[in-house]
Symmetry: C2
Subunit: 214 residues, 2 copies
C-alpha cells in the first residue's frame, strides 16, 4: 500500500475526485435527504454501484465532504494578534471569506444546507473547533475596542455579520443573479462587493485606518 505520489492519478484517486465534485453539487442543491446516490452517480458519469464501491455509503460520503469544507474554513485567518492593525485584519478577513464564496460556492451551500437541517452531522465540530475559532478572534476584537482602535461593538455579532454578508454571495447567488439581470457573478462583481463590504463594515465599526487621509 505504498503511495508513490506519482503524477498519474490512480483509478481510485481519479474516480473519488469525480465523485466528490458531483456529490458536492448534488448535496449543496438538495441537502442530505434530498440528494440521491443515483443523481450523484449520473453527475459523475459513473454507475451507482461503482460510487458505493468507492465511498461506502451516502452517510460517509456526506461526512467526508463536510469535513473537507470545515478544514478549508478553519484555515482562514489562522494567525491573528492584538498587535495587528484592525483595519488590515478586518479587510483580510472579509477578502478571504469573499474569495471562498467565489472559489468554493458549492462548499458554502453544502454547509448552509447542513445548518438549515439543524446541523445533525457536525454538532460536535460546531461546539468544538468553531467555537474556539470565534472566541479567539472575538477576544482580539475586544482588546482593540478597549484600546480605542475601534468602537465597542459586540465582537461576536461582528463575526456573524462578516460571515453572513460574504457567504450570501455564494449561498444566495441564484437570487442575486436573478434580481440584478446578471447571467452569473464574475470577478468584477466579487471585487466591487468586497470593496463595498470592507468600506461599510470597517467604517461602521469606527476603525481607524492609517491611510485615512486621501
Amino acid at each position: 500500500m505504498d503511495n508513490h505520489d506519482l503524477p498519474e492519478a490512480t483509478a481510485r484517486e481519479r474516480n473519488e475526485q469525480r465523485i466528490f465534485e458531483a456529490a458536492e453539487s448534488v448535496f449543496a442543491r438538495h441537502g442530505y435527504r434530498g440528494a440521491s446516490i443515483q443523481a450523484i452517480a449520473a453527475a459523475a458519469g459513473i454507475p451507482k454501484s461503482n460510487v458505493l464501491y468507492y465511498v461506502g455509503s451516502k452517510r460517509r460520503l456526506y461526512i467526508t465532504l463536510l469535513e473537507r469544507t470545515m478544514w478549508r474554513w478553519n484555515a482562514m485567518l489562522s494567525d491573528i494578534s492584538v498587535d495587528d492593525d484592525p483595519a488590515e485584519v478586518l479587510e483580510a478577513f472579509i477578502r478571504s471569506k469573499m474569495r471562498l464564496s467565489q472559489t468554493h460556492p458549492r462548499s458554502s451551500r453544502l454547509f448552509a444546507n447542513e445548518i438549515l437541517q439543524g446541523a445533525p452531522f457536525l454538532k460536535e465540530s460546531l461546539f468544538g473547533e468553531m467555537r474556539k475559532w470565534v472566541e479567539v478572534r472575538a477576544e482580539v476584537f475586544r482588546h482593540w475596542a478597549e484600546r480605542g482602535l475601534m468602537d465597542p461593538v459586540d465582537p461576536v455579532w461582528l463575526i456573524f455579520l462578516i460571515w453572513s454578508a460574504t457567504q450570501h454571495y455564494a449561498d444566495f447567488e441564484t437570487q442575486i443573479v436573478g434580481i440584478t439581470h446578471r447571467e452569473a457573478l464574475d470577478e468584477r462583481d466579487f471585487q466591487s462587493a468586497g470593496d463595498f463590504l470592507c468600506q461599510v463594515i470597517i467604517k461602521g465599526c469606527g476603525v481607524r485606518r492609517r491611510d485615512d487621509a486621501i
Copy 2:
C-alpha cells in the same frame, strides 16, 4: 359556498393550518426533495391520505407555502420616499427584517432552501416582483447619496447586506446557538443584534443622523 367568517374554524381551515405549519417545518429543514408527505403528516398528527386530500399534491403544498412567504416579505418597507430620513428608513428596514427573522424563522429557512436548490419554483417571481422591489428602494438610496445624505455606496449591495445580515439570525440560528453556548435566541439577543446592525450599517454608509450629538 358562502363564507360566514364564523369564529369557529371549519374542519378545512383547522386542518389546513395544522398541515401548513407542519409542512413549513419539514420543508425548511429538509428542502423540497428531502421532505416527505409522511413526515409532514406525522408532524401534523394527521394520516397521510388526509394531508393529500386537503393539499392535492406535494408540489402544490410547497408552492402555497412559498407564495405565503413571498407575500409576507413583499409587504415590508412598502412606503418609501426620497423625502424620508435615510437613518430612519434604514433602521426601519433592518428592524422589520430582524423581526421577520425572529417571528418567522421557518419561513426564512424555507425560502433559503428554495434559493439553494436554484429557485426552480419561483424564478418568475424573483425576476418579477422582487426585482422591482429592489429597483425602487435602490433608486431612493441613490438619490440620498447624490444629495450627500449618505456615502455613494452601491445601493443594491447595501440591500443584499441588510438581507443577509438579518436573515442570518433565522437561517443560521443553529450555528449561532451552538457557537455562543445559548439554548435558543431570545428577545434580548434579537434586540442587541438589531442594535449592532443598525449602528454599524448606518454609520458605515456615512448616513447623517439627526440625533448625532450625544
